[in-house]
Chain length 282, copies 2
């Protein structure tokens, strides 16, 4: 595909009275074909509905959330459109599959400035600007937008929301990488995509942004206590402290016995959709 819109339907399926679709387009900001999925609830056949973006975690694709989270049932009830972008461009670059936590499937929702990633890995601009414009054009989306995500995507959702409060009315996260500049996953990714300029890193760190900017509606976070990544990679306590310092409302639910994956996410996805729906006017 050349740059521009070049929207393509990969597949569409009936699901809970709505349509589960998988799509691709030629992204101008990523200079690459990019994939995403959309769940249109039944209400979207008769009018525009709010859009809730979901950013997935390491190794995931635009399919993961739609297959594993069980969110369509609730979205169909509430009249929310769900949009799940892929987690990286799929153009091949040297070394892009050498590590599962960097490169393919691991875009970290930043605009990379460091070669060779700087040509295609512009997930931040794609997710916050180009993709919403495309969704508004191609789907019956209203102006009301929320964003949430899981792990790397929880980090991404928090960053997108806090840097663009005029675009997102609601934000939540499952087991987010809450302070990426302070954990190995984040340090590796930011070093690779952004180089060693720590000022550049700070604009992609939810804890830094919470301390400096905060957010206007309650941030909802769920975190499993049996999550193997909790103590080294996720660090929700840092986010709690930053929100407290800036007076940002945060509800952190520690979930006893739950792990890191979609067995956990699906258990609480309904709570998150209801949180967003209330703030998006449904």
């Amino acid at each position: 595909m050349a740059n521009g819109d070049e929207f393509r339907v990969i597949a569409e399926h009936g699901c809970f009275g709505g349509v589960q679709g998988f799509y691709a387009h030629a992204s101008s900001v990523c200079h690459a074909p990019m994939r995403f999925s959309v769940y249109r609830p039944p209400q979207a056949s008769s009018g525009r509905v709010p859009v809730l973006y979901y950013l997935a975690g390491l190794t995931c694709t635009e399919e993961t959330f739609m297959i594993k989270a069980g969110a369509q049932r609730v979205a169909a009830e509430l009249g929310l459109m769900l949009v799940a972008p892929d987690t990286s461009p799929r153009v091949r670059l040297p070394g892009d599959d050498a590590h599962w936590d960097f490169g393919l499937g691991a875009g970290f929702y930043v605009d990379a400035t460091f070669a060779p990633w700087s040509k295609h890995y512009h997930l931040y601009s794609w997710v916050t600007q180009e993709l919403p414009a495309l969704v508004a054009q191609r789907f019956p989306a209203s102006d009301a937008q929320g964003i949430f995500g899981h792990s790397m995507g929880g980090h991404g959702a928090l960053v997108c929301a806090m840097r663009n409060p005029e675009r997102y009315r609601s934000v939540s996260a499952f087991a987010p990488i809450a302070a990426p500049t302070q954990c190995p996953w984040g340090q590796k990714a930011f070093g690779g995509y952004l180089g060693e300029d720590r000022a550049e890193w700070a604009q992609y760190d939810a804890t830094e942004l919470a301390a400096r900017r905060g957010f206007g509606t309650t941030i909802l976070v769920d975190q499993g206590t049996a999550d193997e990544y909790l103590d080294v990679q996720l660090l929700p306590d840092r986010l709690v402290e930053a929100c407290r310092a800036s007076g940002t409302p945060l509800r952190l639910n520690m979930r006893e016995g739950y792990g890191h994956g979609y067995w956990f996410v699906q258990s609480f996805v309904e709570d998150h959709l209801r949180h967003h729906a209330a703030l998006l006017g449904r």
Copy 2:
């Protein structure tokens, strides 16, 4: 693993207040390690609960239903244990991966009598006898059992139930292969596993069994109208006719615009769990 029990926990995860587990054991009837998954609802921590078996379709494993169907939420509410067996042994035999609709992932829930399949491919006895005995021993299962499934597994569920009405109180299916002796998938599988003796085939054909034996409680079937396999492989009309002839109660819901996969299954799985729960005394 040698024959016998040799039960092994592969993984367990918190999910909707219960436990989603993946297990293996050394099957005596399959002479092979066999895998299955169990969802234990929260109610199972304080007493025995009914068990609902789910048989998956072609190419699936013991993971498919648990990942894609969104059933745990409802099972947790109703207090049903869910058990999903793998769809074939995973020992390797010559030619077992030459076709996606025969061999690996395609056991068709028969006891094969034809070499080389006759040594390991004894899914029927495993699902109806050995696995329930193991589940009763290892998990807090009551005597109340139901069974359902999808596509190849819908065929399997109907056959297991109608041949063993003393074991199963309830049966349902999503897009079942309703008359396998009359469709290409079934003819290929039965010819390969059972040889050309059509009398042998008949005992694994839901339509034949419905005509000859019927079932004591209402058979619930959901079928998508946009299912690409409907007219050539699934043939629900044959089952309807057979049930009418024998006076077997059948509720067939044709679902407008739904396809064959789990986008369809998840949309109606709650109806099926409630159907079983009512008959299993929950």
